[in-house]
Subunit: 245 residues, 2 copies
């Protein structure tokens, strides 16, 4: 876990279905809300289906190049149907249950990824899933009360392995007893190492910016885009039954 | 990972700070959105602080009995402050960024839990955090753009270890290529083993219900409670700056 890195390029070696199923079974032992398992995963191996999914992920090449694409979903549908078959009605079409299902889906996804990496596989999370949840719902035929949360591409890593990406010092994210808010001096200290890395300085230059933060706020995650995709995702939550109009 | 179980009772053995910090550092290597690390964790060891947190978790005894309580938060505050110190402004006060930060926090939390379990520690996730996020924000002094998502209690397991809890068969949560919606016959098949377990039949009887599903929908996760806590959490998201009024 300490030496893990995200893998975006995969070898030709396929991932056997038995191995995939074994890893998913192990991952199901992750904690979840009340043991209701409010999640599901859609496995994509078919080339045509990958092409249908690709635009929703802004055509990042991993979607079509990886042998396996997994879409992890918050899924309340199965539970609601179980209740309907068992003389009761689940009042689960609401925001709090969506959050519980999202937590369940993430714990399951991350347990799966750790198990896969232990077996020598490589993974890449795509953060585009909640941006374009609508087209993904359509491509995967997801019913009401099911929302895709993250997508993971999976395969054996191609050589050479990419470099491990840096992280902030632990002090940046750790608070003892209560939250100690940041001062400009502490921000400087916590981000100094990250900003001094050659790879990040090159990233700033390539984007024609003055600071690393500007690349994130003005190029990669702009206010306009964040707001556009916020509205889109809130609409999806309404359409899938988790938010009232 | 295959034999893991949730631990709610802990031995007297303390968790050294060096070990805790090592595990958190390993967990930071988990994937996150654009390497922005939109999360933080508040560590509670102080008895008075545990007592302040306990009511927000409906006084579940783990909160005061575990040596360490960790509150994992979606945290956009640190990033926004970094941007402000670096000649730019982050347009991150919106719902999509909240979801990204929630995903980051969950991947970090679950990596931490897996690493902790590998070292012989036991964990319990508390799903109450998003129910009572308001009082937790107050107890931990969380600023705007920080929202608690899950709480984990941590310690060395007391003997004897609890039984491992059952899971649905993999077929219940796995969909190949597209989502195959359920039929009553499939629901019966997928839930048969779970419903036949003695521990679950006892659970139904203890709650004076006819079916296992009724215990969840009519006792543990009622529509009225889900809706009450949905409203409360949406209010918190507004107050913390992630949703507009």
């Amino acid at each position: 876990m300490r030496t893990r890195r995200t893998i975006r390029q995969y070898s030709d070696r396929d991932v056997p279905a038995e191995l995939l199923n074994e890893l998913l079974t192990v991952a199901m032992q992750a904690s979840n809300t009340g043991n209701m398992q409010l999640y599901s995963v859609v496995v994509t191996r078919d080339g045509e289906q990958k092409k249908r999914l690709a635009p929703a992920h802004f055509n990042q090449p991993m979607v079509t190049n990886a042998p396996v694409v997994l879409t992890f979903c918050a899924d309340v549908n199965r539970f609601v149907q179980w209740a309907a078959c068992r003389k009761t009605e689940a009042g689960f079409a609401n925001f709090q249950t969506f959050i519980a299902a999202t937590i369940d889906a993430m714990l399951f996804a991350q347990s799966f990824c750790t198990a896969a990496e232990e077996k020598g596989l490589g993974i890449c999370y795509l953060g585009t899933t909640t941006y374009n949840a609508g087209p993904i719902i359509e491509a995967l035929n997801l019913p009401r009360l099911v929302v895709p949360i993250v997508t993971v591409t999976l395969g054996y890593p191609a050589n050479p392995l990419p470099a491990q990406s840096e992280r902030l010092p632990l002090a940046a994210i750790l608070h003892e007893e209560t939250y100690a808010d940041y001062t400009p001096a502490r921000i400087d200290a916590l981000y100094a190492e990250k900003e001094a890395l050659k790879v990040n300085q090159r990233f700033v230059a390539e984007n024609g910016k003055e600071t690393l933060a500007q690349v994130f706020t003005e190029v990669r995650y702009t206010k306009a885009n964040n707001e556009y995709f916020s509205t889109a995702f809130l609409e999806v939550l309404k359409k899938q039954g988790f938010l009232t109009e």
